[in-house]
Symmetry: D2
């Protein structure tokens, strides 16, 4: 009972990696938002495996079908259902995992929780589950653009293993990000990352890294203290992504080594508006957006599937060894970029609608 996200822009995903298909129902999308299958497909293609040699070579076409909620190119205000069929199922690849729990995968925990699991693949724990999120995110982005003229949302890889990038977060665009296969807009770092991932892949191993995401053009006022603070909902959204291990807003963990006098963002007046001189807050103060760029980082662990032999136990509690077969990613970061964007869009869109509900003036509504 945890497959719905959001209070007003409400997204419910369904589907296992193997079975009839993967999809999503979006309830609460405002009416009259222009959206097409092509726009949704564009985002899904960014998430799709097989985009480059860095990612798994599975061929998943992942064609989306818009089943309901859109009429003559516009949302109806009714539930929007999107379905992507499963095609490339090869259950024989998975016969071993029917009886051996893969280390740091979810096989054991699903078995413990439900007393049953679909061992024809990763089930709901498969990265394939994120298709529904990305499709919903495409619609959330369109809605946010309809609400806020200056809205922009960009995510990108800033670190893979020990290679870090230098990126100007206030100007970077999605075009910059899409220029290379690791989705790192620092060309020099990207080159090193690519070569590192290839080397790791050849060694049968895997690596993790960090994604940064920035949202621009969000007005002051989004976020619902005390529990549904904007950063709290962003944290939840990000930690719900497979392989995510950490989240930080603004200065994040670095703030723990700063003094208050260094960390505080002084207010000033710029172009007639109240602004901050620095942005250690990451665009959120007291759980509410302050009109500055909202930015945060997400840490991803190295993928659990590796080609090296590992110790594990069987479903009958006997110790054994496992060598992963099948086609997998040595590094999830590049494909996680559109997922991070999608989840950020879901949070922002939900909070945009929540703020509209209580906006105390038309001006407040349109800020």
């Amino acid at each position: 009972m945890g497959n719905t996200f959001g209070q007003l822009f409400r997204v419910t995903t369904f589907g296992e990696s193997h079975g009839g298909g993967i999809g999503v129902v979006i309830d609460g999308c405002p009416p009259r938002i222009e959206i097409s299958e092509a726009e949704i497909q564009r985002e899904l293609d960014r998430r799709r495996p097989g985009q480059s040699k860095l990612t798994t070579q599975r061929k998943e076409e992942d064609r989306c079908e818009l089943l309901s909620g859109v009429f003559e190119g516009k949302t109806l205000g009714t539930p929007i259902a999107i379905l992507v069929r499963n095609k490339d199922a090869r259950p024989e690849d998975y016969s071993e995992i029917a009886r051996k729990f893969r280390p740091s995968h979810a096989d054991y925990t699903y078995e413990a929780k439900y007393g049953i699991r679909n061992w024809h693949g990763g089930g709901r724990a498969s990265a394939r589950e994120t298709i529904g999120r990305v499709a919903a995110g495409a619609i959330a982005k369109k809605t946010l653009s309809a609400l806020y003229a200056d809205f922009e949302l960009v995510a990108y890889v800033t670190q893979i293993h020990e290679v870090t990038a230098k990126i100007d977060r206030s100007t970077v665009t999605m075009n910059d990000v899409e220029k290379n296969v690791v989705r790192c807009p620092d060309a020099a770092a990207a080159k090193k990352m690519i070569s590192l991932v290839e080397q790791i892949r050849d060694a049968g191993d895997s690596v993790g890294g960090v994604i940064e995401c920035v949202a621009r053009g969000i007005p002051a006022g989004l976020g619902e203290p005390v529990f549904d603070k904007l950063e709290a909902d962003l944290a939840k959204a990000m930690l719900s992504i497979p392989a995510a291990k950490g989240f930080e807003i603004g200065s994040g963990f670095a703030a723990t080594q700063m003094r208050g006098s260094q960390h505080n963002d002084a207010f000033e007046t710029r172009a007639g508006r109240i602004r901050t001189t620095t942005n250690n807050s990451g665009g959120v103060q007291g759980g509410i957006s302050n009109g500055e760029d909202i930015y945060f980082h997400v840490a991803f662990k190295p993928p659990a599937t590796i080609a090296l032999e590992q110790k594990t136990v069987t479903t009958s509690n006997e110790e054994t060894e496992l060598v992963a077969r099948g086609r997998h990613d040595p590094c999830v970061l590049p494909r996680a970029v559109p997922i991070v964007e999608a989840m950020a869009a879901l949070v922002l869109c939900d909070h945009a609608l929540r703020q509209r509900a209580i906006a105390w003036s038309v001006e407040a509504l349109n800020r």
Copy 2:
């Protein structure tokens, strides 16, 4: 509309720092759990200001009153309401903040969101708001103890500014934590932390740090993929705490620099049970607890209130300066320890009840 936390063990807090009082309503607590005002008060006393020279010298008695939901020492299954009166209000201290936005506080964002704010203090953004969370956490802990015989929950300070501690997370107890005023069970590090905080306080500045929290005795099976993964709800809970900037589960950000072969937690059989040899997962795999210790870190920024002059703007958009007066904490970490514990208990208790609802066997229920 963000003041309720949890799906089944449902906590709603209310109250500003100034006004009639602060409190909480807990709906969904199972019946027949033993609880007393004294047990709740004990937790509130750990959160209370004025415990040591390190924290604000405000005298807040913070006596809780159990208004409903408990009868002859046991929960009724009906809503439990707890009220703590506000007493030490000195609105004159706050006259300046009626017209000047304090940097990195929530004055500006509340004004932008609601078009009104209670400038007699920090309103809902005050740390005083956490009283309701801590009271509810006391009841969540009792419920978890009733459900799981081996349940233990301990949080402690592992870092203040650049001083870090060395703590054995698998054995540390609350007694160890309560031995010193910084709530750091490493005595040597604690001593350095205390002297650092005193020095920072005397300089009119503030510092942040890191709290680690570990939950032991939680069975495999808690957590509701894909959005309400256990670490996702923990992340949300932690980022909803005032001054929290980051969260990481298990290996966290460190995982970004590990290889899969280093990071994976191999399974083995110990004492007839399936266990992992390492615990980089932090007790959660695929969003579901795996029976190992659950642990995570929370990053806290330095408090925004400092005694040094800062640039800011007035409510009429004019640039000005501000020097904080009043009584404040140079470091929130020690007092944040019981708050982190409380929020962790709320998440775990909620997920324990959610798992009971679908448990596929009595054994599954009682694990």
Copy 3:
């Protein structure tokens, strides 16, 4: 876990009839709505027992205290907590019900559900629980008036036992309703009702009846198909009131004996607006308000507490007899009028905010 009502205007009540007090927390009320304790008290006084000889002679002062969420006479957008202390507790009156289940009361079902109950009175099943609803309803009414200039909400008794009234629902006002102690604006019927209730009371028995409620000035567009249709949420709201047994919207059960050609509400144009010539729909079509008056009926059973001897069983499963003592209402209808209004206001206010969240134009928002 059923003590919260509403999605955006979210009301959580707490408190047993005996214990520290009864109250409510309202989360999601828009900011800057003017409200005072006096306005809330006025509604509570209409609900209070002891208003006339027709109702229980318990003296409950029921003074409300506004604990939070209001500042200088306006809502802050933060949770509004309201507390009413319990005063007139006389547990000795209730010693018998500690061991005997009162027929058609909730003693047995609470015991079966929770394995424990507060037998110092009716606990949460007491009509006293509705204090929180009425207090919240007062704020919902103010919010609706702020949103819709022509908003009016009036409930009144149309039937007690076999005495029925004739009332023009399109013009009746609260003043008309408050003119007599049975809250029936048909003076002749009211007189008969009063004499009937007195006679029933003297016989130690009780009677039920019907309340009609009409909301005027609600624009077209409120209601969220397919499950949260306006009439569905109204039905839930009404059936959650103690002693309510039935609900019908518009033509209701009478519609079952009409033909489609009689029942359909033809559209016409009046004063430039689309209107219906009749209103069998009760102001709701397809679950959404159509701009006509919204009206519905609620059936109430005769109160379970009577002064006549009844058969029952003890908590140890032995058959026995019971004669109610204590002070009780022979007819709940007059006091239920403000409760019906309050619940209707909660539903309408919640849906007003929900519609604002997705309103597709500023005009749509302000209709």
Copy 4:
């Protein structure tokens, strides 16, 4: 944002009458419940149009496809998605309703709410929307049978227009109900109903009626006061069904003309269990089931679509006339029977899981 029903057994429906398809996602179904497409199809076939001459002659095959959440014939605990394709779309039938609002349909209110509507048919307001509910209801019934050995749920027509039936609610079975095309187990009354509906159909008109539903084998303890009382959630569920106008639990509106001494259900001991001698309460006291049969009535209005000329207005506000074409039901009652059952099953199943979550003992859990 009103397309999800339930707290723990959570059903989200999607789809318009015209478009890609109609479906449902069920989140929160316990794992290991046996279910097949055939069982779901059986319920869908009972809802399907074209079953007899009494209902619309549209040929809708309505084959369901189980997309996810079931593995080797058992639920996985993950979301169950079910899709039924739309096939028999004939948009030309609907060209007139693109510009004329049909009286007592939802055309006008959808337009007012959303500023857009799918005029290729009734959109979400079409009875076709209930396919998702019936599919979900089939799974809820299986879950309830797994939880409660004696669980039975039967609905049937007790009144059409002025023809009423006499049925023994404590013994009637689904077999009795399915014996005739009006689903009325009183053979004599059924005959009169059939002839009445045929006559009404030939006159181009329509009629309404009443459905009774009884649930047997539900233990004491289901229902969550004070807002989510069992009868409150049933009322909401029933009023969310297209064409429903009223709901009553147990004695219902008839209770308004009874005295307390007649209405109260005395307790007695039968076969060692606490029982009531009568059941005016309808199996629910204080919002919680008491172990007796739960029964209620739902009033349905005559369908809005009739073959007679009616006054209406166009989308450009001009008065005009309309004669419905297309294929429609003169009486929805027979096809509404499985829908009433489905919604009742959803409410009961949700409350069964909610009660499990807080059950205070294993015995309480298994009652």
